[in-house]
Amino acid sequence: MLVDFHVEIGRSDYYEVNFNINELLELMSKYNVSYTVITPAYGVAYICDFDKANREIYLMSKKYEKLIGFATVNPWLLNESINELENVFRKYGLRGIKLIPYLQGFSINHKIVYPIMDHLAKYRALLYVLSGYHPQSPLEIADLADAFPEVNIVMGFAGFTDFWMELLPAMKRYDNLYTDLSCQSNVRAINGAVKKLGSERFLFASSMPYSDIELELEKIRMLDLNDYDKENILWKNAVNLLRLP
């Protein structure tokens, strides 16, 4: 079994990419992916068009059971976001949201995010947040994890190269912090981190179209880990977090 914890669907003018659902379904079938978490493409969906983007994500996940939709909202538009969260969790039944603080314009640990977190706690939903530099460094995300111990937070990109250095201290202190391993080239460092913290909070993700599923799978194969740890990373942890059958 394999669960891919992060892809973006749709067109992003910023990165000049357009990853459509048919391409994803083909790749899922080719690589035997049982479930994939789908999120809106980098762009206005995270700024002002979140209701439209969330509806599209919902419709895709409704049509294909193996697609797990994650929505987004923008904490700057608080009332609209709270209404949308009610919609996303009560009507659409989605299991989490994704934030990109760098694009959306706030520090992830700023109190502007707290009302959103209250709603995630209320609906036992997950937060997936891209990690890397300020305003989304692992220790900044850890500060949010500290304020909301009841919400599980998954960091995307594992600190993104240089901010790998903050990943271990962040995850060591807060059990509600998880990370995917996509877009992180340092296989040696991943080995070391899993050995230090255990494999239970590391997740496989392809982060297509930014990375590539074959490349990310190859990276997991390169890890010097036993089958128990590899299975945790490839699907078991994701199944638990997403409460999949």
Binding site: Y133, V187, Y210, S211, L215, E218
Partner: protein
């Protein structure tokens, strides 16, 4: 044939760092590496660490292209050291503003870049980690030392990739390397904006995993000519026009 234009003499296990690096690179089809020091970038054991690189290149002539660094805070001493390393065969100067503790356009770097320009060696800058390693800071230098050849390592990483593309577009003497730039669309955009002639394959091995770094380039599905430029010809051309 592949040239890896970004590697370090760096210990990651009990085995000999050089043998282990060359073995890994050979398995991947890499025949030439630009080898740089590691500890010296942190202003530690600068002389000894650079000499390991110089000696490695003597042991493997043609296969290892030695890059050195000096501590920019050492002033005149750094200048003399750099001249000495060049006399010993250094083909490139590696500068790392983040670890060396000053912005890339700092005046402390100027005398070193001036020597690199005069002596015809390549200047490779770490880029992508604010506040000290920003591509547009290197552009400042490149527009001052117009005959020096600069490589922006990491293509600006996750946050400053657009600046890296802008800098390379604005200065004929700026190239970029691909090490650690993990967004495939960014690599493709760089090829589109700059042409493949300005992009050089580098892995940052053994700090990063060269298996992943090389596979990533192949995953860009580039035309053969672009791929050959990135993996070999651009680095080879730079070597031929430098000292």
């Amino acid at each position: 044939m592949i040239i890896d234009a970004h590697t370090h003499y760096m210990s990651t296990s009990n085995s000999d760092p050089l043998t282990s690096l060359l073995d890994t690179e050979s398995k991947l089809g890499v025949s030439i590496i630009f080898l740089m020091p590691f500890r010296a970038l942190y202003r530690k054991e600068v002389f000894q660490d650079n000499m390991q690189v110089i000696n490695a290149a003597k042991k493997y002539p043609g296969r290892i292209i030695p890059f050195v660094t000096v501590d920019p805070w050492d002033g005149e001493k750094a200048v003399q050291e750099l001249k000495r390393f060049i006399a010993l065969g250094a083909k490139g100067l590696k500068l790392h503003p983040l670890t060396q503790g000053l912005p890339a356009h700092s005046e402390l770097y100027h005398p070193l870049v001036e020597i690199a320009e005069r002596e015809g060696i390549i200047v490779q800058f770490h880029t992508g980690t604010p506040v000290y390693s920003q591509p547009l800071q290197v552009l400042e230098l490149a527009q001052t030392y117009t005959k020096a050849i600069f490589i922006l390592a990491h293509l600006g990483l996750g946050m400053l990739w657009y600046d890296a593309i802008r800098a390379a577009k604005k200065a004929d003497n700026i190239y970029v390397d691909t090490a650690g730039q993990r967004f495939i669309p960014v690599l493709k955009l760089a090829v589109k904006e700059l042409g493949s002639e300005k992009i050089i394959y580098g892995s940052d091995a053994p700090f990063l995993s060269p298996e992943v770094e090389l596979r990533k380039i192949l995953k860009c599905n580039l035309p053969r000519e672009d791929l050959d430029n990135i993996l070999y010809y651009n680095a080879a051309r730079l070597l031929s026009i430098t000292r």
